[in-house]
Symmetry: C2
Subunit: 353 residues, 2 copies
Amino acid sequence: MADPRIEAAIDHWAPRYVEHGVPVGDFLDITREIDSWDDWCAAWTASGRRHEELADAALATGHRRSAALHYLTASVEYHFGKFLFCHDVDQMRATHELAVAAHRKAHPLATPPFERIEFPYGDHTLVGNLRVPDADGPVPIVLMIPGLDSAKEELTGMEHWFLDRGMATFSIDGPGQGEAEYDLPIETAYEKPASAAIDALVGRPELDLDRLGALGVSLGGYYVVRATAFEPRIKAMISLSGPFRINDTIEQTPPMTRLAFQVRTHSPDFDAARAHLETMDLTGVAERITQPSFIVTGANDRIVPADQTRRIAAAIQGPTEVHIIPDANHVATNKAYEYRPRMADWMADQLGA
Amino acid sequence: MADPRIEAAIDHWAPRYVEHGVPVGDFLDITREIDSWDDWCAAWTASGRRHEELADAALATGHRRSAALHYLTASVEYHFGKFLFCHDVDQMRATHELAVAAHRKAHPLATPPFERIEFPYGDHTLVGNLRVPDADGPVPIVLMIPGLDSAKEELTGMEHWFLDRGMATFSIDGPGQGEAEYDLPIETAYEKPASAAIDALVGRPELDLDRLGALGVSLGGYYVVRATAFEPRIKAMISLSGPFRINDTIEQTPPMTRLAFQVRTHSPDFDAARAHLETMDLTGVAERITQPSFIVTGANDRIVPADQTRRIAAAIQGPTEVHIIPDANHVATNKAYEYRPRMADWMADQLGA
């Protein structure tokens, strides 16, 4: 436990990991056992494999519910092994493939099940996972947008808030994210992939696209503002710890975060990443939003300073509910209870769920 | 964070707290903020009150699902403020009353709801909380038995495993436990309260008492052996980290645990507690069990050494599935995933759920 990057991990990541499905015992054991950041990905990969073994055993005896849980735990542990391991892209990618594969094994087993949807995006293909709660008629739906180091597999840990309240969820990997990050760099004009994702849902009788909301986390808290500003099909927005203009504060982010910006913008160095991100700026964009918005951040956010998120809230023209949560960190994961049930209730109210 | 009792808490309690509903951020914040065990109960009480405020706010706007969650979080935080605070019984009891009251506020709001059942036990009354999953016909049911420092409110964090698989749950406070601990000392012949609890369920059309299982945790892992040995209505048993003969190893338990034994046996000193517990011995008892049994403990259990639980498994005459989980602590809460889904699947298979 000598590596300061490991010590920082315990402080900042425990709530994020656990809130999204990592057993707290695994988090404590792994952060205690390893003493170099270089071992991070391998340790989580090994732990994920144990969960996958448990899943296989449950499935072999016909216990589908338990198998789904174990596959999803495996997937999110692989994901967190991978999420910031950008100094070793080969290892990162190998574990990422395990995360996607384990998640897919859960798709037919989970309640509700996941449907993997591959949809066109220019000359490329993007991927999202759709879940639809049991209901008689068409249901509202929430488009779920990850950030710099999250991906659709991590968002599974938030889907239940909406599913439990009668809303479908569609969690996507956009450019620079998850399955798309190797072929497509970060796209500052995120309304383009968001609109492609919504197009992919048109015509599904189980969904009511007139009642569509969108949620974005961290850098996704920026992306969702872009999407909502330019995509009138989005009727309500949740933006969590989003930056208004990333380059204002990017120098102060931790080294691993800066490296992730470099790698996921497909930049040869950090200066090139900064140049790529220069258009990641909501000036003149957030003002376009007239839809109802729910804005959250932690007052002590050290990744995206709270003032960045306050600027988003101040610029939006539609009605806003704003939570700047005291003593809370990035995405307020250490105080998730302060807003996650509330955000889901708010979205349900907006969409008539 | 100077008090060694606080440091021990982090190591041993984080998984137990979080697995049973405490947000990990609260656990980390509180263990970081306080530096004396004397502040433990007050810190959790204050945190619980915040969750109760959130519950009240959710309820006031008609968001019953969120209100239920917040009340249950409040309840389990109050509970863990109280659970081993035996050196200050007045403070312990005041916070305990908050735990019970917050839990009761969740009763009509939760899915499925809780029904509080008060049932006769000799000249006294005991209390249990019944939950029945939505189903067409009568469902199997699992009697849930707490231990030395747990109570029915903590067991709510395990009920979902069974409810999700179509089984009802009935979590009780027996003598020396929860609501009964002030009037009734620990009862080594726990088949008596267990049978009284089962009697209280007779005649309910939503339950199939011919498909009744029982689960006990920690000292409850002893109680459930007593109950199953003498109560033929119990058709399958789960025993988690139970002691075979408590006085064999009671001297090695942590000081707070020994004080809890003293207070909850209503003993003037520890020697009197030991004398009270002399009949807590499964010699000649475990052998009576012919029902199927599922036995679990952590190989590194420091409260009830694993050999104690191994003796239970070895003595039982019926079929057993035994999990001695490597690198796991008391009740294997740091590796809960290694057995909790499996134990629920096993019980569902035994009871035909």
